[in-house]
Symmetry: C2
């Protein structure tokens, strides 16, 4: 059975065919802007691959998934199962959350592209593996031998520890009534961290987009932006450490997400704020060196996850 | 195969026989103080039940479990597999963490004694179920159809939100270098919360034990102790809400632990601080009513969990 797998974000869609393994040569990325709606994008992919139809479609979505119709985060598209079936000829259409897909991808970390940030001497092969990341929002998912645990990590309360954290939490709670983790750990969070850094430095914020803060922070041209990037990496490290501990993810912590990758230079190397905060866990500090930490590449991980998910759900139906 | 299951805490040990289901008539609680070491306690139980030996022993321990010898938290006992085998004639001895046992008990919540704190109209039967609790420390475990996820929730960073939280976090970080969740949510945490309540009220702390704070707080005889109990219940509620969200535990949140049960009057009823904080999750507030919340009885849950664990591990070996 040929499965069309899609990793649909707010800006781009990555697509591939699997039968049953992922056909790497079939991977294609299409910009959503070129299409009025998702079915047209699917039609274009099939046309380019010279296919009339597929039997099954699995779409990983950056959105809460329930029911047959899902509104995409960050783009005014409604993704509808009947419309996807009509555009592809598929008799079966499934939607899964993007982090659920990444969780299923961790079944085979060896085939994913990732860079090591921390490598313990004795990794535990079959221990739980955690993927977490900051992008539009923040979330995580856990793989363990019995399956994948889906989470809503972004809506938990932000754990403010330092004086900077508290100023940040006050700033965000004043705007939103409450400061959740993803108000801080997201693309928009970087901009808010920058605004707080400017306020603490007694200066007005000269930048107004998260990507400008990252650029000016990493090239050293703006001290407040540099502070914001380091604080973001520090808070990401502390949160990743808390989640690693919470889930006992001795099989590995895998970082994903656009905002995470944007600050990649601050996640490794001497004196990086990420790993220092990841490990600063009081009595548990020594044990934090036992967690492998990797930065996932921005590539086919979610597609591999869709393929693994399709296999698992087919097996579950047969048994 | 007869299995001897034990729920061993710092003060008492609860024991029972299972073959394969738990024999409720066999349940007995023995005070650790009456014995020099754990094997003597096991011998006394078998003697009272008129048994020479059992084939298998499963012990749930309030301690990190690894290897063949474990030091019990809160009592200077080393629990050793070879010694347990010698005392019981068992050919197989297993140690599991007490929260792992509670997680396995959630496979059958219907046979556990528990009181509802919040009951949604449409509970999800097969959704993940979370057990969490404050006792000597704080921890949680997740049951889902694929298995049980073991956690180290107590060592995550304490999420300070209110001015009281921040005073508490400062107080505990000054003592321990860092404020973890279980510094607050534990029996000793109640006493620390009381000390902060006294300091904020400009009075000296008249009480010096957590249980005295709970008694004086619940009977209304001490305003600072009453504040401490309400703050403890509020922080427990907020933390339980964060963990419910994080794990999407729509199958139910089950509260356990001695410190949790000590403040039971503040976990339900009009204006209780626990459920108010459980639900106060910004954009997610309405969705928090969809989580069933229960208070587990202090009884045989961990024993049932040991039985379920023994069944699962026997099945895993056969396949």
């Amino acid at each position: 059975v040929t499965v069309l797998v899609c990793d649909l974000g707010g800006t781009n869609c990555r697509l591939a065919l699997a039968d049953p393994a992922l056909d790497r040569a079939s991977v294609l990325r299409l910009a959503n802007d070129g299409f009025a709606a998702f079915p047209a994008l699917l039609g274009e992919y099939l046309r380019r691959k010279g296919r009339d139809r597929v039997r099954r479609v699995v779409v990983a979505l950056a959105a809460p998934v329930s029911g047959d119709r899902v509104r995409l985060t960050n783009r005014d598209w409604h993704i509808d199962k009947a419309e996807v079936a009509a555009a592809t000829g598929a008799s079966e259409v499934s939607f899964i959350n993007d982090f659920e897909a990444l969780g299923h991808a961790l079944e085979r970390p060896d085939i994913l592209r990732h860079a090591p940030l921390q490598s313990p001497r004795a990794p535990l092969a079959n221990a739980p593996r955690l993927v977490l990341g900051a992008g539009t929002g923040f979330n995580c998912a856990l793989w363990h031998p019995g399956g994948v645990v889906c989470c809503e990590a972004g809506h938990t309360g932000f754990a403010a520890e330092t004086a900077f954290d508290r100023a940040l939490a006050d700033h965000l709670a004043a705007r939103h009534g409450r400061c959740s983790t993803e108000r801080v750990l997201s693309g928009s969070g970087i901009l808010e961290i920058y605004r707080v850094a400017c306020a603490l430095a007694g200066q007005g914020p000269g930048l107004s987009a998260g990507r400008d803060v990252v650029r000016a922070g990493l090239d050293g041209s703006d001290p407040a932006a540099a502070t914001a990037c380091r604080e973001f990496a520090r808070i990401l490290g502390r949160t990743a450490g808390d989640l690693a501990l919470l889930f006992l993810a001795r099989g590995g912590v895998f970082l994903s997400g656009g905002a995470t990758r944007a600050v990649a230079p601050l996640l490794s190397g001497p004196g990086n704020p990420f790993l220092a905060a990841f490990s600063a866990k009081g009595r548990m500090t020594a044990s934090m060196a036992e967690y492998p930490v990797h930065l996932l590449g921005d590539d086919d991980a979610a597609l591999h996850g869709c393929v693994n998910w399709a296999k698992r759900s087919a097996i579950a139906r047969q048994s």
